[in-house]
């Protein structure tokens, strides 16, 4: 939903809600306080009308009982011959009728015959009262029947209906009420006094009100008073109309026995206040006064509702217009900024509303700065990427990025050169094509195995690896693998180094070493032969010609022999040195104690001569050529015996585990040496002492070092002049630690 429509909806909604709440409050106030008061007033009005009607009827009762108190019975008892039997009462009848214009007729009826005996009637036109001459029998009239049961002083009132002349309703219609009371002679009911009263003025007074409408209905709900003359007393002419038929809602009030009032929906959908008060006319019919008035308070409410609605509509329209205006006003720069941000980062001149007042302008400026920042970062990033690309691309090591489906994702220039494929051929193709044909079947298994436990490592450790070039040639390679975790899998960086040159160099070095050893062997062997000749024949000369040579000649011969002997020693040591490589056996599990026993056996003469004490730790098994280990111990123990001081030598052979290695030490209490010299004593023919002081050619430690290094170990020495010497060397352990 757009910003504008949301603004529009919320402002219009707010206005509507406010209007509704206000209308509701007004409604509640009216219904809670104004309406009950109005209903109460209406009920009071109806009561007053009812009281008025009742009062009039009470007056009627007074008139008829007054006539009955006159000596009417005497008139009735008078014989037929009496020309004027009601002489005594006539003036009173006449006077009463003249005083009460609403009384239309007054008559005396004899009982039980029902014969009319006296009648006064008012002239319809002039209102003049005169005594009627033609008397009738009224025995059949309901009021005569009702009068026969009345006690003395009781009054019977007939229903209110229209006066009839000879069975037809008199015109203009005139509502009448008959009041009947008995006349007694002693205990005998001898007659009835009956007056007919015109109820027209009373009913007219009932409806004569400036406010609202008043209805009078009889017990059946038929209209006795109605503003429409055709409706009042309609039942006298035909079927009639009841108030219940006209206005069903009102029956709950008119049917009740007690006065009641309420606000009802009127006949024209307008609310009206209705009050109904039943009146039981004493000794007569029950009627109900119904007053109806428009509910002025409700009308007020309706008016205020209408006003509120219009007002709300007006304010709502205003709010909608403002929302549209501000929505558009705010949305326009926002749209511009959105369109611009979609093109970020860009060098183009994107229209950002930076001059917009308020927060919009600030936001636009921030966006412009953001664009600049992203651009400069992008530039820095692409520069950096260019450098990294160059580093990878120009690397002398072939690089491949391979996904977990074994497809090549990236190669560098060296990779193309090494395998003879173009980049286009390599990218997306399987890495297996670079593997020698015979191994392509097993290679996927290796890769999957690697993915089980990826980590940086060399590939195929201890094996010679080959790659196959496009032309089919095999290249010896070394391969390093590095997993690079990425989203959705792992890619592997494989670095491939062409080791053909190095392999060639290694082979060359091995060959040259072998040749050198061969040379040393042959040379020393071939040197020995003539030297032996020199030595042997010098000795033979000295032996055979001893008596013919003078002392000087003897001395010369001695020098020659001595030189020859030292040369022999050197050659023999050289031979020993060269044999370390040519005649060494493959290392196997070996007990150093055995070698030590051989040494003690071989050196038993010097040990005895020096009185040396040789001790040793428990010596763990090692992987070694036993003969050569013997040589090492013999050289070191021999040195310790040779370079002893004045005290008897004490020599200790120690051993300690150091990971996969056993570190041996040969410690003596001899003359020691300057620590400065400890570095060069392992060099060939290095001697720290002048010829003649200590026997030896200086080859022993070189041989020792060569043997230890052939086993992969190290040898070093710690020493101080006069502080003894300790040689250390390491050999691979043959037992678990």
């Amino acid at each position: 939903m757009s910003f504008t429509s949301r603004l529009l909806l919320s402002s219009v909604g707010l206005v509507a809600l406010t209007a509704l709440v206000l209308a509701g409050v007004a409604d509640w106030v009216v219904r809670d306080s104004l309406t009950p008061a109005e209903v109460e007033r209406q009920l009071a009005l109806a009561r007053a009308r009812a009281q008025d009607l009742e009062d009039r009827v009470l007056g009627l009762r007074g008139d008829v009982t007054m006539l009955a108190h006159l000596p009417v019975a005497a008139g009735l008892a008078a014989p037929d011959s009496d020309a004027e039997p009601f002489e005594m009462v006539r003036p009173a009848f006449q006077a009463m009728m003249q005083a009460k214009p609403s009384v239309l007729q007054a008559r005396v009826i004899a009982l039980p015959s029902g014969e009319e005996r006296l009648r006064f009637e008012r002239d319809a036109a002039g209102g003049e009262v005169r005594q009627a001459t033609a008397l009738q029998s009224k025995a059949a009239r309901p009021y005569v029947q009702a009068g026969m049961d009345l006690a003395a002083g009781e009054v019977h009132l007939s229903p209110l209906n229209l006066n009839r002349e000879h069975g037809a309703v008199q015109q203009p219609p005139r509502p009448v009420l008959r009041a009947v009371t008995p006349v007694f002679a002693g205990a005998t009911r001898v007659g009835l006094v009956v007056i007919n009263v015109d109820m027209g003025p009373a009913l007219a007074a009932l409806s004569a009100t400036p406010l609202g409408t008043t209805y009078l209905v009889d017990e059946q709900g038929r209209f006795l008073v109605h503003p429409d003359p055709a409706v009042a007393f309609a039942h006298e002419y035909g079927p009639g109309v009841t108030i219940g038929q006209r206005w069903p809602a009102v029956t709950r009030l008119t049917a009740a026995d007690a006065p009641g009032a309420a606000v009802l929906g009127g006949p024209n959908d307008s609310d009206v206040v209705v009050a109904a008060v039943p009146v039981q006319l004493a000794g007569g019919p029950r009627v109900t006064v119904v007053t109806v008035q428009p509910a002025s308070s409700i009308a007020g409410v309706n008016r205020s509702r209408a006003l509120s609605a219009w007002g709300a509509a007006g304010v709502g329209l205003l709010a909608a217009l403002m929302a549209l205006f501000w929505g558009q006003r705010l949305a326009r720069p926002l749209r511009a900024m959105t369109a611009a941000a979609d093109r970020f980062p860009t060098d183009d001149d994107v229209p950002l509303p930076v001059d917009e007042p308020g927060e919009m302008g600030v936001l636009a400026q921030a966006l412009a700065r953001m664009n600049d920042k992203i651009q400069s970062q992008n530039r820095a990033l692409s520069e950096q990427e260019r450098r990294f690309r160059a580093v990878v691309e120009e690397s002398p090591i072939a690089k491949f990025l391979v996904d977990d489906k074994h497809h090549i994702l990236l190669v560098n220039r060296r990779a193309e050169e090494l395998f003879g494929y173009s980049r286009k051929e390599l990218l997306g193709s399987s890495i297996h094509r670079l593997v020698p044909e015979g191994q392509r079947d097993v290679h996927p298994g290796f890769i999957d195995g690697y993915h089980q436990d990826p980590g940086p490592r060399p590939m195929g450790p201890g094996r010679e690896l080959f790659g196959q070039r496009k032309d089919g040639a095999l290249v010896p390679v070394e391969i390093g693998l590095n997993p690079l975790p990425e989203q959705g899998g792992t890619v592997t960086l494989a670095t491939v180094v062409d080791v053909s040159e190095r392999k060639g160099r290694e082979d060359e070095l091995r060959r040259s070493n072998r040749e050198l050893e061969q040379f040393a062997y042959v040379a020393s062997h071939d040197l020995q032969e003539p030297l032996r000749m020199v030595a042997n024949y010098t000795e033979l000369l000295a032996e055979r010609y001893q008596d013919k040579l003078d002392d000087k000649a003897q001395t010369f011969i001695h020098f020659a022999s001595d030189g020859a002997r030292r040369m022999q020693r050197l050659i023999s040591d050289l031979l020993t040195y060269s044999r370390v490589g040519t005649e060494g056996k493959a290392p196997e599990r070996f007990d150093p104690a055995t070698a030590l026993r051989w040494v003690q056996q071989d050196l038993r003469a010097p040990i005895a001569a020096t009185g040396a004490d040789i001790s040793h730790d428990a010596l763990p098994l090692v992987y070694a050529d036993g003969t050569q280990l013997g040589q090492v111990l013999q050289n070191l123990v021999g040195n310790a015996l040779k370079f002893c001081g004045d005290d008897a030598p004490r020599i200790h052979i120690g051993a300690a585990r150091e990971g996969r290695w056993v570190r041996f030490s040969v410690q003596d209490n001899g003359i020691g040496m300057n620590p400065e010299h400890t570095g060069r004593i392992f060099d060939m023919f290095q001697r720290l002492h002048p010829v003649g002081t200590y026997d030896g050619s200086g080859i022993g430690l070189s041989v020792t070092k060569r043997i230890i290094e052939r086993h992969g170990g190290r040898i070093w020495v710690e020493s101080e002049i006069g502080g003894g010497t300790t040689f250390f060397f390491t050999l691979p352990a043959a037992e678990d630690a």
Binding site: Q528, R532, M533, A535, Y537, E543, R565, E583
Partner: protein
Amino acid sequence: MSRSVNFLLVEDNAGDAFLVKDALENGAIPSTVAVVHDGAAALTRLGDKAQASPDLIILDLNLPKLDGRQVLDALKAHPDWCHIPVVMFSSSDAHNDIVECYRRGASCYVPKPMGLDRFRAVIRSVERFWLEVARLP
């Protein structure tokens, strides 16, 4: 032993040949030492019916024409010579050389020692062993 023992010494080094011959002929046992200076000459001499067959052959390893190994092979392949003990006498004490000679059927291998005294002592030991301890065919 009534007759003198015949040695055949195959040695190209005249100095060594002299010392060996000197040592053997001045030894306790009367012996004749025939000296040839190369392998081919050794085989020629053996094939010469005019010459007495040797009781013991002392054979150097490094020889001109045919070297000691080839001579040894020829001797051991020949029905008339294969039983003659052959003492290899060489300045090499290389392990390979020693093993090779025994494999080819040498009766013993003696490296030439340094020093005149030891040289003589070794020759005398050989002589004593083969002529006094061992029994020749």
